[in-house]
């Protein structure tokens, strides 16, 4: 927690899938250069909430939102979506490298944004792979298919791919749920290094992961109509040792969910 400046600010935010209210009046401020974990039972809208920050929900038909989401006080809906997604990177639940070489996977983003110079691309690829703690494992096989890597390596490749377009925020949607414990640990170590430079928001089902890897925790719950709401937000230490709400305590002690 090197800084307490607010990076993401959500104010009275609602999200609907058609007539179904998925998110109910969310308000939260997420600090810069810190890891915020989003936890909560299945179906309470954690991923939907995460995908609000890079407006990925817009790919789904019939999604409607109300309220404000701001990045450094700027309304994200007023930012061009292509530029927004460059600034807000995302790592998905299932590693999804492109069926291309490792090099082309990492160079994909910079190329899409118009960088053509080979030397510059080489530099970006190496820097991003180093930053994602993958360089030493793949530096001799940059032209091997990204799909030939192990699951954990694929996920770090996807992180490198996201870093290559110089984002400010990295969204992670259960990035380790498809990985074994050792690969999971590597991703968590990597997150600790990355938060020096990036704001990280991670959705996780794994309570221990939230407890050991995050600085702040947002606990989501759902109402009886299945709409998700933010039950409690605070420093992770406080949420896990002295939660204010009964539901939070029940959830983190494993009484449900």
């Amino acid at each position: 927690m090197t800084s307490t400046r607010t990076k993401l600010e959500v104010n009275d935010y609602f999200l609907y899938y058609g007539d179904f209210k998925a998110l109910d009046s969310i308000s939260v401020e997420m600090p810069e250069r810190a890891i915020t974990a989003i936890i909560g039972p299945s179906g309470c809208g954690k991923s939907t909430f995460l995908r609000s920050f890079n407006r990925m929900n817009e790919l789904i038909l019939g999604v409607r939102t109300e309220g404000a989401v701001k990045m450094e006080s700027q309304d994200i809906f007023s930012i061009d979506v292509v530029e927004l997604r460059r600034r807000v990177g995302m790592v998905f639940q299932k590693p999804n490298p492109f069926p291309k070489s490792i090099y082309d996977n990492v160079a994909y983003g910079p190329r899409a944004h118009g960088i053509r110079d080979r030397a510059q691309l080489d530099e970006i690829v190496e820097k991003s792979l180093r930053r994602a703690a993958l360089w030493n494992e793949v530096k001799d096989d940059l032209h091997k298919s990204g799909l030939a890597l192990s699951g954990g390596q694929q996920q770090r490749l996807c992180i490198a791919r996201a870093l290559a377009v110089e984002p400010e925020i990295i969204l992670m949607d259960e990035p380790a749920s498809a990985l074994d414990p050792i690969a999971t640990l590597k991703i968590e170590e990597l997150m600790q290094e990355l938060k020096e430079d990036y704001t990280i928001v991670i959705v996780t089902h794994n309570m221990q992961q939230a407890a050991r890897a995050s600085d702040y925790t947002a606990f989501f719950m759902m109402h009886d109509d299945r709409s998700g709401y933010l039950n409690e937000f605070g420093p992770t230490k406080k949420i896990f040792t002295a939660p204010e709400n009964k539901e939070t305590e029940d959830y983190i002690t494993g009484r449900f969910g």
Partner: protein
């Protein structure tokens, strides 16, 4: 629901165990009968196909030699000569149809799979248009080819006055294979995992960059399979070209020349000459060509699965 299931389980449990024992021989017998019937059906089907193939190839090879392949047909009732001009006409025809139908078909498929899906939930004119296009593609795929031929004759041969020519035949042939290419490409595009599209969009790539750089390359083997399938369709098509290409035996020299494709030649030899053996010979070459095309498709689809799993 639960109660009902429990009651049913109770009654079954009380009566069945004894019965199962006495049933067992009968059940084995039925199993054998069913298996035997299926096996016989499969054998009959494969046997018939093999019989046709070998009959044509065996008889055909009596007349196939280098001269047969390289001399032009002489025409007349005796069906003298070889099939060189029909091979050339067929190659031209394949070239013209695929050149016209491939970009159109792939373009339509991309629109339907990538762009129209975004407005699938939308109301109004666009939704209707998209549904009509989809339904049209489905229907065209089942229309008898002679109908395409009649359309080609009416539009290209007569109205546009292209006459009996490679151009008329190529355009009519393109109409015939468009649904094949559209459907194969559409399915190949749908098979591309959603995660790849999201991965690209999440990096700030535009929809078009995502389609062009990620989705299309991943779908390429399936799309190419569709194009090759349509090549096979053109090679074996007769009815469409009967009414659009004419039956000229001369070597085609340009888009406006008439001609005779190999499949058409088989038809003419069998119905208008005494050279039934040469008809068989041409047929044998057609069969071999189609077998080669199908082998290519097999190799491609194996490459596809290898590529998507990281080979």
């Amino acid at each position: 629901m639960v109660d009902k299931a429990e009651i049913m389980m109770d009654t079954v449990a009380q009566t069945s165990i004894q019965e199962l024992r006495s049933n067992i021989a009968r059940r084995h017998l039925i199993q054998k009968l069913a298996f035997g019937t299926l096996w016989a059906a499969a054998l009959a089907a494969v046997g018939m196909l093999l019989a046709i193939t070998f009959y044509v190839i065996f008889n055909g090879f009596q007349v196939i030699n280098w001269e047969f392949l390289t001399t032009p047909p002489a025409g007349g009732l005796g069906g003298e000569g070889g099939i060189s001009t029909t091979i050339v006409a067929t190659i031209y025809l394949v070239g013209i149809t695929t050149t016209i139908a491939t970009p159109l078909g792939i373009g339509a498929a991309i629109y339907l799979a990538e762009y129209a899906s975004e407005i699938r939930g939308a109301r109004g004119v666009m939704k209707t248009v998209v549904n009509v296009v989809r339904f049209g593609v489905e229907t065209l795929n089942g229309v008898p080819s002679i109908v395409f031929g009649l359309f080609g004759f009416a539009l290209f041969v007569t109205t546009l006055q292209f006459g009996f020519s490679l151009l008329s035949a190529g355009l009519a042939g393109a109409c015939l294979v468009l649904p094949v290419i559209i459907r194969a490409s559409e399915e190949a595009l749908y098979a591309v995992p959603r995660g790849l599209r999201e991965g690209s969009l999440a990096l700030g790539a535009t929809k078009w960059q995502t389609t062009w750089k990620v989705v299309l390359p991943a779908a390429a083997p399936g799309i190419i399979t569709g194009v090759i399938l349509s090549v096979g369709r053109i090679i074996s098509e007769t009815a469409v070209f009967y009414v659009t290409l004419g039956g000229s035996l001369r070597m085609p020299t340009g888009l406006m020349s008439g001609g005779r494709s190999m499949a058409l030649h088989v038809f003419y030899l069998a119905t208008e000459t005494r050279a039934f053996d040469k008809s068989m010979g041409t047929g044998a070459i057609l069969i071999i060509t189609i077998v080669l095309i199908n082998l290519t498709i097999n190799i491609l689809s194996r490459r596809l699965s290898a590529r998507l799993s990281g080979g």
